[in-house]
Symmetry: C2
Subunit: 248 residues, 2 copies
């Protein structure tokens, strides 16, 4: 099976809109998440991009002053901050799975809790892998923007679904050349009537893609020379894989 | 960390009751699922243990005579057959996840659909991995009986829960010497309040155990000399692991 080749870079047009239109299949379209144009950006007096005094009204932070106040990376788009704040009712600076699900609903759509847990696992903060902080949320949001653009590019009929071949091409665009056998096990679980055409929603696409991304990154850590194979001890294999499995 | 040693065989007392009492911690207790004593066995005139004419009243089988009628292995306990038949309303000889959940409720308890899907995956029939046939159901039932006996042996206070150390010992009894690091990632997902004591129900124990069993068997296939490590290609790694992940 041959994979399509995309000889042109995707980052050559940084001013492109956040979501490519279906007709914009020409090379050079930008795929990273782009904030709305400046005219849509509200004024906001509070600088979320920098650490701030947690005792200030409206600020994030522990009333005890410790642990250090989680904050958004400099330059985080206000829409991202607003989506986070909207669900972080206790202003703890961390959100749980259901809150993340709600926060992403505003910018994207409602994801299944399975996908949410996978996202939380892949974008976990090292100190608390049950909750998502501002930094991880901003990264996750940006990544989803990128993935949505890819998804919509391959969803040519704008049905909100992509098929197996489009999934393969979409993953390839994301940098993952998934072998046919891997693609087959990946999609077989979404193929409710065996052998029928598989249509993946954006939710399922994100789930599939995050599985590929997460496992591939883990594998690469053990294949530092990129030989395509790795020698793993039983213990390494198990500790690599189990976190993906019991993500409840 | 040292593991306990059980120097005596578990199969030396085939007439032992199906579920060991907590006080029966002495060596030599039988752990496999044992059918009730003969006096409890009903008479049943229909031989489910052998292939039979699918057109016979009450028989399993396709009205078209093909594929071959699925049947229970010879000697399958009638209780197992009854549990299966009770939920196989269309007498197709196959049951889906929800039906399996219901069938196991009669002999064991209600398992989560996550655990059910893991069981279906590990005891899948090669022709149809979305449904469970009589042979797989009988194997699954027997395995659960074995696991329940182990679980109850380690649940010394009969609370219906086991902790992390008991999980380790229980898995060891099942033949899996799980390294501490693996145990840690395994239980961390059940540790809702970080660092607190983890108590696993039988459902969670089965989920954990089936993950260990399934992954260990996969790994052993690639480590035929039992050296404790295996060289895996990226493709092999991905196709080994993904089926465990997208078990929806």
């Amino acid at each position: 099976m041959s994979y399509p080749h995309y000889s042109t870079g995707y980052n050559t047009s940084p001013s492109a809109p956040p979501v490519p239109k279906p007709q914009s299949q020409q090379p050079g379209v930008a795929y990273p998440y782009q904030p709305p144009p400046p005219s849509q950006q509200p004024n906001y007096s509070y600088n979320y991009g920098q650490p701030h005094n947690p005792m200030m009204a409206g600020g994030y932070g522990s009333p005890y002053g410790y642990p250090p106040t989680p904050s958004f990376p400099p330059g985080t788009h206000p829409e991202v901050i607003r989506s986070f704040q909207m669900v972080d009712m206790d202003r703890s600076g961390f959100i749980d799975a259901k809150e993340l699900q709600q926060a992403l609903s505003s910018g994207y759509q409602r994801f299944s809790l399975r996908t949410i847990r996978l996202l939380m696992f892949l974008f976990r903060n090292p100190n608390d892998d049950l909750r998502t902080g501002p930094k991880e949320f901003a990264e996750l949001w940006s990544c989803l923007g990128h993935w949505r653009a890819i998804f919509e590019r391959f969803d040519r009929d704008r049905s909100g679904k992509i098929d197996a071949a489009e999934l393969r091409d979409a993953l390839y665009s994301l940098g993952y050349a998934v072998p046919p056998s891997v693609l087959q096990v990946l999609i077989s679980k979404y193929d409710e009537q065996k052998g029928q055409r598989v249509d993946l929603s954006f939710d399922s696409f994100v789930e599939c893609g995050m599985i590929v991304k997460g496992l591939t990154e883990k594998f690469k850590e053990k294949d530092t020379q990129y030989t395509g194979s790795a020698t793993l001890s039983y213990e390494t294999f198990m500790t690599m894989v189990i976190p993906f499995l019991v993500a409840e």
